[in-house]
Structure formats: C-alpha cells, structure tokens
Amino acid sequence: MWLTPAEWQIVRFTLAVCALSTLLILPFGLAVAWPLARYRWPGKLLLETLVTLPLVLPPVATGLLLLKFFSRRGGVGQFLHERFGIDVVFTWRAVVAAAAVMSFPLLVRSARVGFQSVNQRLEHIARTLGASNPRVFFTITVPLASRGIIAGILLAFARAVGEFGATIVVAGNIPRRTTTLSLEIFETVQLGHDASAYRLLIVSVIIAFGAVWLSEALMKRSVSR
C-alpha cells in the first residue's frame, strides 16, 4: 500500500480510538435518546440543548472545558489521578474523551429518530404477551430502532475521525501517542509535506464518505418505514 509505516500507525490509532469512543458513548447515547424520543418533562429542552451544545460550540472551547475537567487539578482528572493513578490529559484517553464528547450529539440525534420511528403499538402488544419493560426494550424497541441507532453509530464514528479542535487542546499532538489523522494532516500541511497530507486526506475522505453514506441510507429507510 502507498501509506508509510508511520502513516499506517496513525490510521490504525485513529480508527482504534474512534471505535472505542463510539463504543463508550453508545449506552449513554441510547439512555438519552430514548426518553427524548418518548417522554415530555420539565427540563427536556435543557437536556436537548446540552446534548446539542458540542455541535455548535467552537471545538476548541469544548477542548478547553475538557482540559479543565480532566486536568490533575480538575474535578474528574484529580479523582482519576489520586484514586487510580490515571492521567487523561495529553494521553490517548484524552483523544477518546474529545472524540466521545464531540460525536455524542450525532449519535443521540439519529438514535432519537430511530426510537421515534418505532410503532409503540408493538411495544404494547409485547407487554400483553408478558414481556417486562427491559425485555420489550431490548427485543422490540432497539431492533426496530436499529437503523437509526446504527446510522447514529456510523455518524458518530465519522465525526470522531474528523475531530481536531477539542483534541489538540486536551490531547496535544504527540507523535505515536496522541496524533490522529486530522492532527497529522494539519501537521504535514504546516511542514509542507504535501504528498503525505494528500495521502492521509484520501484515507479520511474514504472513511468519512463510507460512514456518512451508509448512515444516510439507513436513516432514510428508518424514517420511511
């Protein structure tokens, strides 16, 4: 293949952290998307706004918030460091955290559409057949919302791959430790290594195109069902 070993390492690292971040946000994303799709309660608008915030906030600002949050003097960072000896800032964990926060809204929005497309009549019928609420959720609701959920997973993954602003603030750009595709493209352009930049650009486009295309196709089927 035409990528150098160093570039391959960056691609592998990016795919791994993005997969991990998407996996991490999945249960939380579903836990937020489901009540948003089904219920009304005071404060729902606040939750909707908070969930959407990373989409509209400057990514660097989100990165700064994460830096505060995860630094050794920040709330969670201090706890993780003192209790478990784990540092987040400027490590691969920070890359995962930035990707997770930035891609969370996309997962929630798609999963919400998926849940809204489920015919609640079928859930009622399942209950009359003796199914408990968790059984109804996992055997009826989630499978019927799966197109929206999978679309959300793909979209979140693609967003994570493209993440730059928050990552550079909270994780830096440390070769072989926190360098992702986006950070490396920026770096190579800065250094005038255009050939490398374009090679990585093509990889990014292929990943993003595939994920978004699949996601759009699934969402269309989810809405029209």
Binding site: T128, L129, G130, P143, L144
Partner: protein, 222 residues
C-alpha cells in the same frame, strides 16, 4: 368468566367513556359505530390506557383500582390482545412471533404449541417472513400468538376488518369454536352485526362512550 368494570371513566377526545358493567358470558360482543369508544374500553381492560377512575377485576383478580392507586402491570394481566391493525413484530419470524409470549416455565396442555397451530391451521406458515403474509394469515398468527401466552381473557378488536367475505367466514368459524376448543372467554369488538350474531352470546351496544343496550345478539341486532 366474571369481569367487573365499575365506575370506569376515561376522557377521550370527543366524549368521556363511562362504563359500569358486570360481564359473565364467555363470548361478549361490543358493538357500536366507529369512534364509540370500543377500542378504548378494551385497552383499559388490557392496561394499555389508564382511566381517570375505574375498578376492574377479572375472576376476582384486581386489575385496576384508581381509588387505591392500584394498577396491575400489563404483563401480569394475562390478557390476549388482538388489535385491528397489523401487530406482528416485523423483525421476527413467524415462529419467533409465536414463541414470544410463551412462558418457558409453564406447561400448558390446552395452549400447547402444536394444538394452537393445528387449530388455526398455520403450521405451513412457520418459516415464512412476516412481511410476506396475507392479511388473513397475519390475523391468524396474531390470534395464535395471543393464545400461546395462555391468557385468561382474549380481547379481539375488529380482527376481521379488511378481509374478504370468504376469508372472514373461515376465520369466524375458527373464532366461534375457539371457546369450546380452549375454554377461553373472549370479548369481541365489531361494528358488523353479522359477526356479532355469529360469535357472541351477549352484546353490549356502545355509543359515544356509553352502553345504550345489552342483550342477546339475535334480538338486539337481528
């Protein structure tokens, strides 16, 4: 069967459904025009709607008592519900739809898988995709699925709507003998007098949320 529905009051868009009735027949029909509150009544019994006030019990078992803030969860009511719209789980095969409500710990000779399948003549459909079923096949599977959950009461909400006359008659025959075969009481919602006469021992006439008449279907609708 002894189904008691006391002081049921359920606010609907056009009117309030008000029912106070004691049902003891095994095959009761709920007859009335569209929008009379028939489906809402069934849904209240099944626990799919929460009335503003009601005391509902079936064979001495309390289902709903709003005065005591008590409502038995839907899954514990053991009520087989056959709605008028298609209600098979589209992502599951016919076989898995049928197995969905079977309690693995309970042994039922009456509602055994083979018995229900042969009675409703749906054996050949087991491996079919749910989406490939005709309307008549679909409704027979829905009825079978409800039976396999070993319910105490079967609620049928216009199950034969949109079927052609020949198919309707065939399934009506099966429904008529269903009580003898499985000993299960049923409530049958319809706005077709012929269906009510054929299936029911007693009919309640429902109009704008109130029972306006009650009696033998032949006398009331014939």
């Amino acid at each position: 069967m002894k189904l008691e529905i006391r002081r049921l009051s359920l606010r609907l868009e056009q009117f309030t459904l008000k029912i106070d009735v004691d049902l003891q027949r095994e095959r009761t029909g709920i007859f009335g025009p569209s929008g009379a509150g028939k489906t809402s009544l069934l849904e209240s019994i099944a626990g799919l709607r929460t009335p503003q006030t009601a005391m509902i019990s079936l064979d001495g078992r309390l289902y709903e008592n709003t005065a005591q803030n008590y409502s038995l969860p839907v899954r514990l009511r053991k009520i087989g519900y056959v709605p008028q719209d298609e209600s098979l789980f589209p992502h599951l095969s016919v076989r898995r739809n049928l197995l969905y409500g079977i309690d693995g710990n309970a042994k039922h000779d009456t509602f055994s898988f083979d018995h229900v399948l042969s009675f409703l003549e749906i054996g050949p459909l087991l491996d079919r995709d749910v989406r490939s079923l005709s309307r008549g096949e679909n409704q027979r599977i829905v009825i079978a699925r409800a039976l396999l959950s070993a319910p105490r009461l079967l609620l049928l909400d216009e199950p034969l709507t949109a079927l052609d006359a020949k198919l309707k008659n065939a399934i009506l025959e099966q429904l008529r003998s269903l009580h003898n075969e499985f000993g299960i009481p049923m409530m049958y919602v319809t706005h077709d007098p012929a269906e009510a006469i054929k299936i029911c021992e007693e009919v309640l006439m429902l109009e704008s949320g109130k029972i306006t008449a009650r009696g033998h279907p032949g006398q009331l609708l014939g």
